[in-house]
Amino acid sequence: MTQTAQERAHVSAPASGITLSRLMPWIIAILFLLIMPILFGSNSAITIMNQMMITIVFALAYNMLLGQGGMLSFGHAVYMGVGGFMCMHIIRMVEKYGIPLPLPVLPLFGGLFGLGLAMIIGSFSTRKAGTVFAMISLGIGELIAACSVIIVVFFGGEEGISGDRTYGLPFFGIEFLQQKEVYYLLAFWTVLSTILMYLFSRTPVGRMANAVRDNPERAEFLGYSARWVRYFSFCASGFFAGIAGGMFAINYEILTGEQLSLIQSGAILLITFLGGVGLFFGPIIGAIVFTLLQTVLSLQTEIWQLYVGALFVAAVMFFPGGLAGVLMMHVPAIRLGKLHLLIVPYIRTLVPAVLCIIGVAVILEILFHVRHSAPGDNEMTLFWITFDSHNPVAWAIGAVLALGGFWLARMSAPDLRDAWHRANTLDGGAA
């Protein structure tokens, strides 16, 4: 019997070795990171990519709590922020006292301080998961954020703390004067943190974090204290959030109290959730998409946060798996080799749906302009067209787009549902 069990272990147990196909996504990602600044070398592009990488590390750290451990935090910006502030102080000390510290190791210190804070706070906040944990995280977050205006020595009050990263010990001759050099430094830390976080999810505590998330009581009857499992996840998450804080300090050379606020904590929740909490790479997608979305939308419209808020609420209601979840929904169809069945129905539903959204946006933009522009200023520009915001034709175009798009999308939705069903069904059999 043991014999057969062992034989089967080799057949169907998840393969344990490091194979090329498993390393492939990582290699591609690293190559991608290496060539991005060559393809997009402008300063603004690099600025955006730097921001993306910081957000990726923070979102992955946040998902160690939310997705892997089932703990919803409304105050996680604090761990990133405190790590960042500490790094900023170190940068200043390097500048002031000439401490021979090379800049590239700085995020490690951020991580250690994030870890330290998480060890203290986690000691009482992880006793319970769910609502209680969420509320405590909110309270602690607000407390520390409020301290930023009181403890001026550390947080620098209103102006925050700023420094100059270039005073550090040159690292193989690099002084990090240029954005591109900073880019590669951040890329290194992003890859390293991502690998470490991925590996963490494969360790005994990482596995038990999932178990405790699903069923804390049962985990206790397997010899694990749910509370300690949560504590370890929490500390690890604080560590990586601190690393993200260190990356932030290096990149922006300034930290303010805003970095600790509920707004930041809420933003990372939103990013992680939009990306997808159920899969390891979900937050990465979330960070990339959100940063792009924010950059593009905030240039185009004043009410971009309204759109993001609506998108978030819609996602929670209709796509609780986030973008990663939507992508993974297509895996069965790909496996069956039937993805092509979906292409035409998708186009026929999504194009009208996008038109509908554009129509709604047009109406919202005009309405906003009418309400908030200076009296007499009736001229507005939308989608590169300038027109009079009180002109009924503009309203009518928006309404037609919205209603017509909605109607068309509705008409073709049943077809899409059909195609979806066919694409996920084996030929001549049930799903």
């Binding site: 009482f124 309270g139 929740l269 808020g309 609420v313």
Partner: protein, 318 residues
Amino acid sequence: MDLVVINLIDGLVTGLLLFLLSSGLTLIFSMMGVLNFAHASFYMLGAYFAYQISLYVGFWPGLIIAPVLVGVLGALVERYGLRRVHQYGHVPELIFTFGLALLIEEIVQFFWGKNIVPFEEPAALQFALFNIGGNAVPAYKVFMIFVAIAIFLGLLYVLTKTRVGMIIQAALSYPKTVEALGHNVPLIFMGVFGVGTALAGVAGVIAGPVLGTFPGMAFLLGSIVFVTIVIGGLGSLFGALVASLLIGWLTTFAATYNFEFASILTAFGMERPEDLSESYLRDLWVLTLPQIGPILPYLLMVLILVVRPYGLFGKRDA
């Protein structure tokens, strides 16, 4: 002494206001297990609706209409939003209400802008009702106290003396049994959510003129309300009352007594350094009680949680 009385009154106003919010929040939480993060957003909507109504017909009709509108909106949110998300579990529910709070703030900014709107007390109440040692007590504050207390008495009556109240109380502890007895529990949930948010709406209407009607008012008060119910113990109405009053008085008293922390340092035999900018304790030397007033609720929460993880009156398994 007079100042103490004034502070007691001011603290009572703040405390009752907090309780208008925390009671609805607690009712919703103990019934549906959902902590409604957007609760304070409904409070904000109450203020803005009343402001909009006051532009046309004055303050008084708004006191009734705005909470009703808010309550209907709350019920709709429960019916078409929360009930849908419920199937995914409590954490997604909480995320949903958080997203809703963000969205409502954006919607409010969309319609009324980022700045404070001129929502004011009705002219009929803009006078000092009486003086205590030279300090005027505005009639409007007394009016707020009366409104809040009247609502609680009404609520208490409904909960303890009416059929609906009995069913709600039963549904609080045994939702399955109540459903088995043929009561429409989803409808009760929707109703409780609507009433809870309407209470928040009332709070918004009466607080808007005093605390200011602006898009940040929801998150500003919201965090304190959550801290309040954590301190009181999640799911305990009595705990919510005690914690609300406690925080009301705590913050009011802290805001008026200009106690300087330097005196503590001196008592420990330390000497104020000549050049404060060099000292690492410089923040302590200049710190005063009113400065830390706003963070006292959070400090209190941390202290209580370390000692009593379930809050003052919380049940162990809430």
